[in-house]
Amino acid sequence: MNQTTSLARGPFAAGTDTPAWRVTAGRWGQFLMGRVLPPLIVIGALLALWEVLCSRPGAALPSPSQALRDTWELIADPFYDNGGNDVGMAWQILASLQRVAYGYSLAVVAGVSLGVLVGQSTWALRGLDPLFQVLRTVPPLAWLPISLAGFQDGNPSAIFVIFITAVWPIIINTSVGIRNIPEDYRNVARVIRLNGVEYFWKIMLPAAAPYIFSGLRIGVGLSWLAIVAAEMLIGGVGIGFFIWDAWNSSLISDIILALVCVGMVGFLLDRMVAWVGNRITRGTSAG
């Protein structure tokens, strides 16, 4: 009798007297203890240290509690719109994200296409690689004046800076991925006589996908880095100019809030690309 009841509790509890819910709760407890608690403790300790250091009178930077009090209006209503540059944090970030979306999308299309070209053709590699190697070392902001001269307008210039920043790692990783496609996959394609288009979609892209996605991930991080810097110079709505504007108005607390937001959005962008990559390349990296 006793045995049947313990079997009915399912595999979790087999052989023990622990009910299943308690096992599940225990796992959650382990997760909290192992994954959530350590960062919370470290962040808490750092905030406390900051609070102590910046609470004394005459400190150059506001303490975290001071910053929170100063910026509470911004945090409480991220979607206000008073016209001009005076809009909520959410609008500032969305404006920046929109520029990144344009520039990054262009970089993905151009980067993957050029990467495939360079990966496929030795001639193209020899012709283009020196150019890539030189241009990719140009810092993002160094492109801004020349693109302002070319586009005569701030917004397309910022988008161009995003594009030119993100495109190099995408090109280089894609071409390495294409070059590393195992000879066997090519042979399989040759035996079943896939034509060029079929080979591209069915073999080349999936085989190179892990490399392409690591390029895309580096690219999205770089474009987020570049947009903040570019926006500081071009002005208008956007998180970069928000920071510059706050500095000019000596609103240090606003700067701190903006930095936290920039960091979190960058983290989310990175995770998003990584997540999409994992979904698409399931199993590809494992032989």
Binding site: N187, V191, G283, T284, G287
Partner: protein, 280 residues
């Protein structure tokens, strides 16, 4: 003389690298009848894979040619389906999709979608892989991957099935099991098969003829041995069969007496010397 189904005639092959020409194969001549099971055996580096790749069309012979069913080979194609040593499944496709990619391409016009699906399932059934249709290659064992590789090749309805050391990467038990299955499938389908191996037992057990190759450079066919053992063959019964042991002995003496590999001694010396060098 009747016209052979697969005819390799006067094939020479040399690779040129950095201006230095290395002769690999010299004057390979071989005629294979339809439904015959041929093994190519030889020491590693003797160019047996090169022969197979030339028949597959993946390599072009320097001179000479290959004719399959009256047509000259000059490019790869599904009529000479290849089973690769390391299975070469596409890791992002499931077991089913790995066969599907070949079947959908080859029978796009020949079969309806329903017929293609049935044909894929039939071929996976033949290698006993019906239970794992939706698994990815990374989720199945090495023996299972090789089965799927065989199913993919069989699904192309090849005129000649080319096997490049198909069991080389498998453990002994899995290998024996898969050899038995290949024999069973071969007795059902009567395919013409050309297999590369360096396993003497495997060659004797599976083949109608064993083609023994001399050592490179300029390797060629040294001897051809007819295996006149009745089919179906049973590995346990054959183990005590004097004819089986005679064939085995023939191949072994070719490989280890007539074509003894000189490099091996040098390699052994090097491997003995290496630890001493490390110590020094």
């Amino acid at each position: 003389m009747t016209k052979a189904f697969l005819d390799i005639s006067h094939v020479d092959m040399s690779f040129t690298r950095n201006g230095v020409t290395n002769p690999v194969l010299r004057d390979i001549n071989l005629s294979v009848e339809s439904g015959e099971y041929i093994s190519l055996i030889g020491h590693s580096g003797c160019g047996k894979s090169t022969v197979l790749n030339i028949v597959a069309g993946l390599l072009q012979a320097t001179s000479g040619g290959v004719i399959v069913d009256g047509r000259e080979v000059n490019a790869p194609g599904p009529d000479r389906a290849l089973v690769f040593q390391n299975h070469s499944l596409l890791p992002w496709l499931t077991v089913y999709q790995n066969v599907e990619i070949a079947v959908d391409k080859i029978f796009r016009h020949g079969k309806t979608a329903a017929e293609r699906r049935e044909w894929i399932l039939h071929n996976l059934e033949m290698v006993s892989m019906s239970h794992a249709l939706d698994r990815l290659p990374s989720e199945i064992s090495g023996g299972m991957k090789q089965r799927v590789g065989i199913a993919r090749a069989l699904a192309m309805e090849p005129k000649v099935l080319l096997l490049d050391e198909p069991f080389g990467a498998l453990d002994a038990l899995t290998r024996a099991h898969l050899q038995d299955e290949v024999m069973r499938i071969q007795s059902e389908l009567r395919n013409t098969v050309m297999m590369i191996t360096h396993d003497v037992d495997e060659a004797v057990l599976l083949s109608d003829r064993i083609v023994m190759m001399t050592n490179g450079p300029s390797a060629t066919i040294g001897q051809i041995l007819d295996i006149e053992l009745p089919r179906p063959r049973d590995r346990l019964a054959l183990a005590d069969d004097p004819r089986y042991n005679h064939y085995r002995h023939e191949v072994l003496s070719f490989l280890y007496e007539k074509q003894r590999k000189v490099e091996d001694i040098g390699a052994r010396r090097a491997s003995v010397a290496a630890p001493q060098a490390q110590r020094a």
